[in-house]
Structures are given as structure tokens and as C-alpha cells.
């Protein structure tokens, strides 16, 4: 009997340890020559970078493989600071780019894209949300990203601009780890409404959510900075990637995925 208990204990502890949702970007082997470029990008860029810019850059520069790590910008900044494993960092806010610029340092920093906020609801819009003001209505189940996650902070800023910060905050039923998790809760029909980026809708969720616009005077427009991270040996390649993102092809790809190019707002 003792043996079975010990086995059970071992099983429990092992499996318990597997339950973290952290998706680390570490563990990548260091190439002898620069053939692999490691790009840490905000979760909201997953579709645009993963399907658009990544393959485009690989095609333009033969023999290079781009490896992406998509997560909330705050998580990425933390990983870069503790592990230093990224060649390029594309952040959804200046806050976390500033952090990486302080430690370990960046080069070629530039704003490369803008993203507007939008309200999403399940397609049947169970709480009848028609404007940002409705998010203050009693009983609306509002899903936001956590404070500290850029889209979560921007959303709270917009709610503040609309003068309903307190009411909306008391309607929050869940603080999700990134915008993808927020969208997932609405696609599943669990929350009544959420605030995410416009680019989040034009991705996979297009047919599974309904959008309600946020007027310009209260909307918060996120500006995304990109930079080569100081440290790794791929500096030239990193600079090339940043240039590609800022160039015509990169900007076109971003626009295709619902972002506003940097030239316009």
C-alpha cells in the first residue's frame, strides 16, 4: 500500500508541475551561422507576423528561418530580461519596449504599426451591447486582459475616457493573460463583451464574434514599437528584419491583418 501511495504522490507532483501555461521561448539552439532569427512578438501580432511577415521575410532572405515566440508583451519583456534569447522584440506598448531598452538594450527602435481598440461580443450579443457606454450596464459580463498586459491597460484607459471606469471594472468577470485568451472567452460565448484590438477580429475569430466600434474621442490607439535586441550575435539579420517590417511589404502584410500602417491613424 505504501508503494501505491508513493506512486500516486509522484504522479500528482509531476502532473501538477505540468500545469503552468508558460510558453517559454528558451531552449533554442544557437546557430553557428546566423540562419535562425528569433523574434519575440506581442500576442496580437501572431497572425500578421506568423502568416504574413514571417514567410515573406524568409522568402526575401534565402536560407533564413524566422522563429516566433508570441505572448503578452509583459511576459516577453520578462523573458528577454532574464534569458536574453530574442533577436528582435515587437511590443504592443512603449512601456515594455522601454523596459527592454533599459535592460539589455535595443537598436534600430521604431514605431511600426498602430492598432485601434474595438468591443467584441458573441454573435448573438446576449447583453445587447451597442456602444462603449453599455459596458457600464449592470450585469454585463465584461472580459478584459489583466492590468499590465498592454491591451488590458489600453482598454481601461478607453473606459476611463468614456467616464465609466468604475462601473465597467465592477462588471469584469475575468482578467485574461493576453488578447488571444480574451477573444477565446467571447468566441466560446462565455463573456458578454470584451475590449480587444481591431486586428484581433480580422484573424481567426472573424465569424465567431460581433464588433461594436469605439468612437475616436474615447478610443485608445496603440502604437507598436519594434527593435533589435542588444546581445545576440544576429544583429545584422535583426536589423534586416526590422527594416522589412517597416518597408512596403511588411506594412502591406500588417494592413492585411487589420492593423493601421504607421503613416495614418
Amino acid at each position: 500500500m505504501r508503494r501505491s501511495i508513493i506512486t500516486l504522490t509522484a504522479l500528482t507532483l509531476v502532473l501538477g508541475a505540468c500545469s503552468s501555461a508558460e510558453s517559454g521561448g528558451g531552449g533554442t539552439t544557437e546557430p553557428a551561422e546566423a540562419t535562425e532569427l528569433i523574434v519575440f512578438a506581442a500576442a496580437s501580432l501572431a497572425a500578421a507576423f506568423g502568416e504574413g511577415i514571417g514567410p515573406g521575410f524568409e522568402e526575401a532572405s534565402e536560407g533564413i528561418t524566422v522563429v516566433f515566440n508570441f505572448a503578452a508583451s509583459d511576459s516577453l519583456a520578462g523573458q528577454i530580461q532574464s534569458e536574453g534569447s530574442a533577436d528582435v522584440f515587437a511590443s504592443a506598448s512603449d512601456t515594455w519596449m522601454d523596459a527592454v531598452q533599459d535592460d539589455p538594450g535595443v537598436a534600430d527602435r521604431a514605431d511600426f504599426v498602430r492598432n485601434r481598440l474595438v468591443i467584441i461580443t458573441p454573435t448573438d450579443n446576449p447583453a445587447g451591447v451597442a456602444s462603449i457606454g453599455d459596458l457600464a450596464n449592470e450585469g454585463v459580463q465584461l472580459v478584459l486582459a489583466s492590468e499590465g498586459v498592454p491591451v488590458g491597460d489600453y482598454a481601461r484607459e478607453a473606459l476611463g475616457n468614456a467616464g465609466i471606469a468604475e462601473e465597467a471594472e465592477s462588471n469584469v468577470v475575468s482578467n485574461e493573460e493576453d488578447n488571444a485568451a480574451v477573444v477565446a472567452k467571447i468566441v466560446a460565448g462565455e463573456g458578454d463583451a470584451a475590449i480587444v484590438y481591431e486586428s484581433d477580429i480580422s484573424a481567426a475569430a472573424e465569424n465567431d464574434v460581433a464588433a461594436v466600434g469605439i468612437p475616436d474621442d474615447v478610443n485608445v490607439i496603440a502604437t507598436y514599437p519594434i527593435a533589435a535586441v542588444t546581445g545576440p550575435p544576429n544583429a545584422d539579420l535583426a536589423a534586416e528584419f526590422v527594416a522589412y517590417v517597416l518597408g512596403t511589404d511588411g506594412q502591406a502584410a500588417l494592413e492585411e491583418y487589420g492593423f493601421s500602417p504607421i503613416g495614418q491613424t
Partner: protein, 260 residues
């Protein structure tokens, strides 16, 4: 005796020991001992701790209420496809919890297979509620009760029960006076393991029940949220979980010793 143990074994064992203990030591080293009070207040630890205790205890009770009868059927009945049934029941132990959370969402979410009915006819919504967090943790921890109880039941010599019934005890009486006392150590072990698992549950909870302080944000979720904005608080919360886990192991050891 120890002189017979080959040196490489000693070295590997030492590496193994360091591997396990170093992260725990690092938590102690990095802990914000200087401003313990302020990091306790800043971390929302009290709220998360209280919720974790409620959720883990409730899910342990639920695991026992549902898991023990299941174990009984698996150990004592001769229903067809029993080994398949056992595999299904135990599956959550090896399943990544986030998969369990997605499954629960599809089943019991407001728009889920069964959850839609719950919501439309009874007005019950489980997602984003403490009850939802309890259900998510129970999904993950109940199999441990089933496993422990079933192996306990199998190890009990049924002749004791036969003897009791020849002496005039009815089955219920035999269960109460013979089976339950003999099963007690295993039941306790299963309950403690389930509780420990529930306490550490993360993936199923955040996926199914969401993350809101005071309602669904248990200690592991609080650790995850604090780790970027306030690493000190995250370490502090982690230490609370380590301490609770140590208590579990000590309690377990006592149970096992008692049983022998």
C-alpha cells in the same frame, strides 16, 4: 553498506537532489524578506489564500462524494468494459489541465453542450464563478481519489465481510464496520492528494473559470498574474504554496505511518 554504493550513483543522486531543491532554495533566497508585510498586502495574498482554501476543500469533498462510489464500482462490480471505464475516469490525471479546461468549457460553459441547458432553463452559469473553479479543480483531482480508493478496496480481504455476514451482519453494517475502517487510510491518502492537486491547479481553472480576484483567482493564478508586475509578490505567494505542500507531505507521512 553505503561503501558498496558506486560513486557514479552518488554523483547522479546528488545532481538529482540539487535539481529538486535549488528552485525551492532560490525562492527562499529571492523572497522579499525585507518588506514581507507590504508585499503581503500588495499581493492580495489574503484574498487568494482564502479562495484557494475554499476551492480546494470544496473540490476535495466533491471528489470524495463522487469518486468513492466510482472506485467502488470499478473495484467490486463486474460491469463490462470496466478497464476502459477505469482508463476514462483516470484520464484527467495525465491530461494537460488546459485541455480539461477547454473540455469543461465545451461541456458546461454558458454555450456548452450541457451548460447551455443549465443556463437557458435554470439560469445557472458556471464560468467566471467560484463554483466553476471548484468544478475545474474537481475534474483534475477526483481521479486521485478514485485511484487511491480502488487500490484500497482491492487490498481488503473480502473474507472479513463474508465472516461478518455469516455472523448476521447485513451488508450495510459490514461496510460501515469492516470496509470503511479498513479503507480509512487509503481514503485519507486519496483525499490529501486530491486536496494538494486542487490547491496547485492552474490550467483548467483559468481556462474554464477565468481569473478574477476573490472569485476565481486562486493562489496559482495570482502567482501567474503577479509574476511580471510584482515579482516579489509572486515569489511570496509561491512560498505560501510551497509551505502548504510541505504540510500536505508531512500529513501524508503520518497517515501512512498510522496505517502500518
Amino acid at each position: 553498506m553505503s561503501s558498496r554504493t558506486p560513486l557514479p550513483l552518488w554523483i547522479l543522486a546528488a545532481v538529482g537532489l540539487i535539481f529538486v531543491t535549488l528552485p525551492l532554495l532560490a525562492l527562499l533566497i529571492r523572497a522579499p524578506w525585507g518588506d514581507l508585510v507590504s508585499s503581503f498586502q500588495g499581493s492580495g495574498a489574503g484574498t487568494a489564500l482564502r479562495l484557494s482554501v475554499v476551492v480546494s476543500l470544496a473540490s476535495t469533498v466533491l471528489s470524495l462524494v463522487l469518486g468513492v462510489p466510482l472506485a467502488w464500482i470499478l473495484a467490486r462490480s463486474s460491469i463490462p468494459g470496466r478497464s476502459v471505464l477505469r482508463a476514462v475516469v483516470v484520464l484527467p490525471v495525465v491530461l494537460p489541465p488546459v485541455v480539461g479546461g477547454i473540455g469543461l468549457l465545451a461541456a458546461l460553459g454558458r454555450g456548452g453542450v450541457a451548460g447551455r441547458w443549465l443556463y437557458d432553463t435554470l439560469g445557472i452559469q458556471l464560468t467566471f464563478t467560484t463554483l466553476g473553479a471548484i468544478i475545474a479543480t474537481t475534474f483534475v483531482s477526483m481521479p486521485l481519489v478514485v485511484l487511491a480508493t480502488e487500490s484500497g478496496l482491492r487490498s481488503i480481504d473480502r473474507r472479513y465481510e463474508s465472516a461478518a455476514s455469516t455472523l448476521g451482519a447485513n451488508p450495510r453494517y459490514a461496510i460501515r464496520r469492516i470496509v470503511v475502517p479498513m479503507l480509512a487510510p487509503q481514503l485519507a491518502a486519496g483525499a490529501v492528494l486530491a486536496w494538494a492537486r486542487a490547491l496547485g491547479e492552474f490550467g483548467a481553472t483559468i481556462t474554464f473559470a477565468g481569473n478574477l480576484a476573490g472569485r476565481t483567482q486562486t493562489l496559482p493564478l495570482a502567482v501567474y498574474e503577479e509574476r511580471i508586475t510584482d515579482p516579489g509578490a509572486a515569489i511570496f505567494l509561491s512560498l505560501i504554496l510551497v509551505a502548504l505542500s510541505v504540510v500536505v507531505l508531512v500529513a501524508m507521512r503520518d497517515r501512512v505511518t498510522q496505517a502500518r
